[in-house]
Symmetry: C2
């Protein structure tokens, strides 16, 4: 009954300019953050505005101990980015530089394309096949409900540019890590091996990558004029925004939840990760408005996740030694939660059954596999803090992820609210559980 | 049985680099035209390459009398186009200039937004409300199967800029005439009333228009820095590409079919109108490969439809006096044909029943309403040439129409082939009908 009533209330409220009723806390955060701030690339002026916005909103919602924990980080910013096929058939291609991409000169340069069907094929290629050319890797990321294809295909973005650079390539273009067919390229960070000079590295939109693949299939030499002028702007400040629901027993440890406040620069960061901060904040707000929990819930809107998890690292550095009972984050859009995984010092803890009971009416079932934790709370998980994955349906997440299309209209308020229900249920159980929630012995190699 | 066999054959063939089997003529045209030419804005160098490509392909397919009929036209080309909200909340908006848009200075200008929910509201506004400001009209085009919402909402693009200019607006932004939610604006031509100086005029992508609407709903003044530098480049040559299937009886009149070769500059013109030339050509090719028809089928790949129907006008000027038995065009993507309309001098002609019988197994039923004809053959229809509309399912057409997203991957080869089946059936009947197919008396006011 409840889920059939809430959506109407949400839809009604979101079409009104009046103050949001309680059940609209989550959607209200995504709507207002994406409208009143928009994109918020970490370390930039927009990111600073986003922190101010976050502090004001979290205070207005009544959270305790609202404050910013600043940290410094290197900041890369996008420049001009154009690509034109010069021959055999002149035409423009749509692309976006990858975070940390190197730059061409202002005027760009023309290079011949050498294509590879996979990262493995690029790795296997002799350097002379690649030297001075523009590498193009076209392998296709498939759709998965749990996003596992991002893990499988992600290395082409994370490490493919480094491989190409080490073989002497002039630049690299990859097919976007995206499951859509729109001419909106998917950006995202790439990492250069120690001592490797960054080369220009960009993602083509999926239709453009398919076009370039067809051009190569003609068997004629394909050359592209490429201009990419991003730059490193030096070290700037970002920060984590912290807020709390005070518990009655400080010694019982903190329940750490959150998402990340920063976004890529192309969209307005609605699904990545306005949704995550909205879901976890709305759930914490329900606890704030109810009976005082035993454990303090610490809500963190992490900074600078996208360029490399700087906020999560800063948090662990500052708070790693504090008593933490649990860590969990929401960073996979607003698709409904359908599974959970939990890691505890005592896998036979009654907490498992209690969570399972609380989640059953919400359609969330236990899942097999290791707890991942995510980029923001990952460093705490590595320190042995018990953790949960609330697994979302990500079937359409990579249609939008890291593109200009990551905007408010991609948020389904009904599914967002299901997430809030699940997170609130989790918090009620975990914040009050008699399990001491001691640290989990870490396996070697984690 | 047939439709269940064809798709496999098509899919198999299109994944092969070998010569296309006969049933793949249509998909092969869209694939190769969009790959080997890409965008082909009328009157530009790319448009000339497209004509060369068309002549070569039509000759290779074996058509008779393949030639270009050139004409001159004024050519507008896109320049830089950026928009940034300056206040209250700084952020970029994605937009595309409308064809024939005026320009800002190179550096752009900053203006205050004045919003209207509809063209009617803009028309009703006093000039002092608009003068010197950037008009924004946000009314939303709904989804319709037959595309009728384009007729209903189109005037905001066709004539809204002229209305704003006449009231002294500095510029106008409209919500794209699109039914999608992607950050890809929909361009298209606008027309200025005689004596009106063009102002900068652009379409925001749907998510950006909704963002601007939300910003206005805050009640705070919204200002935007707008840079649009398109320009008229003077008069250049475009042309119609003509090919024929010779009939046995020249005196029986020509059956005129076709689509348009030119495209907007943002996408590669797959659905608009690579599909139309592909469908009509593949259908004509089936007749060419079969028994000789009584009537000559004249296939025209019209030039310069997008900027204002110059090719259709040129055709009518050159050929209006010739004996034409029928005119029909395909310019609504590759969605399946589900209805038809026909206009004849003798509405009781046995041809109607014959067409109805031929179409029944293909799922195409007679529809009520006036025959439209379309932009390219419209001038011939105005001269009284009998005409047919083969009505396509356009439910998703305006998701893509006039955007960068109009690319090959949007073509469903199975639906494209259904169109070819329908057009070939129509040609078999019409080209051999005993009906003299005399001109239709025109109603006044058409």
């Amino acid at each position: 009954m409840r889920t059939s009533l809430i959506p109407l209330a949400i839809l009604f409220a979101s079409s009104s300019a009046l103050a949001a009723p309680p059940q609209n806390v989550g959607y209200g955060i995504v709507e207002d953050l994406t409208t009143e701030v928009g994109q918020r690339l970490a370390g930039t002026e927009a990111d600073a505005r986003a922190r101010d916005w976050a502090v004001a909103r979290l205070k207005a919602l009544g959270f305790a101990n609202v404050h910013v924990e600043p940290f410094d980080m290197p900041v890369w910013v996008r420049g001009a980015e154009t690509a034109e096929v010069v021959g055999p058939y002149p035409q423009r291609l749509m692309l976006a530089a990858l975070g940390n991409s190197g730059a061409t000169s202002e005027g760009g340069f023309t290079g011949e394309i050498v294509g590879f069907p996979s990262l493995e094929a690029l790795k296997a290629a002799p350097a002379e096949q690649v030297r001075g050319k523009i590498v193009f890797v076209w392998h296709r990321m498939g759709v998965t409900q749990d996003g596992s294809s991002y893990g499988a295909y992600g290395p082409i973005r994370f490490s493919g540019p480094g491989v190409a650079a080490q073989k002497g390539a002039a630049a690299i273009l990859i097919r976007s890590l995206g499951t859509d067919h729109h001419r909106l390229p998917h950006t995202g960070v790439t990492n250069w091996p120690e001592g490797t000079r960054p080369i220009p590295a960009a993602a083509l939109s999926v239709p453009d990558a398919e076009q370039l693949e067809r051009l190569l299939a003609t068997g004629k030499p394909v050359s592209v004029h490429l201009t990419l002028t991003p730059r490193m702007t030096g070290v700037h400040q970002s920060g984590n925004v912290v807020a709390e629901v005070p518990g009655s027993d400080r010694a019982a440890g903190v329940v750490l939840i959150g998402g990340h406040l920063d976004s890529w620069d192309l969209g307005t960061g609605a699904i990545d990760d306005g949704a995550g901060v909205a879901i976890t904040t709305a759930a914490a707000k329900r606890i704030l408005d109810g009976p005082r929990p035993k454990r303090t819930i610490r809500l963190v809107w992490f900074g600078a996740e996208e360029p490399g998890g700087f906020g999560g690292e800063a948090y662990a550095k500052a708070h790693g030694a504090e008593q933490h009972a649990m860590a969990a984050e929401s960073d996979f859009g607003s698709g409904r939660v359908w599974q959970f995984r939990i890691s505890l010092a005592d896998p036979k803890s009654p907490l498992v059954a209690e969570i399972t009971r609380a989640f059953a009416p919400l359609g969330v079932a236990p899942a097999a596999g290791e707890v991942d934790g995510g980029t923001d709370v990952g460093p705490m998980v590595l320190l042995g803090v018990p953790a949960m994955d609330l697994v979302q349906d990500g079937t359409h997440y990579f249609d939008i992820h890291h593109t200009a299309d990551d905007t408010l209209d991609k948020i389904d308020p009904i599914q967002l609210e299901q997430n809030v229900d699940v997170w609130a249920a989790m918090l009620r159980v975990v914040a009050n559980s008699p399990d001491p929630l001691a640290r989990v012995p870490q396996k070697r190699g984690r």
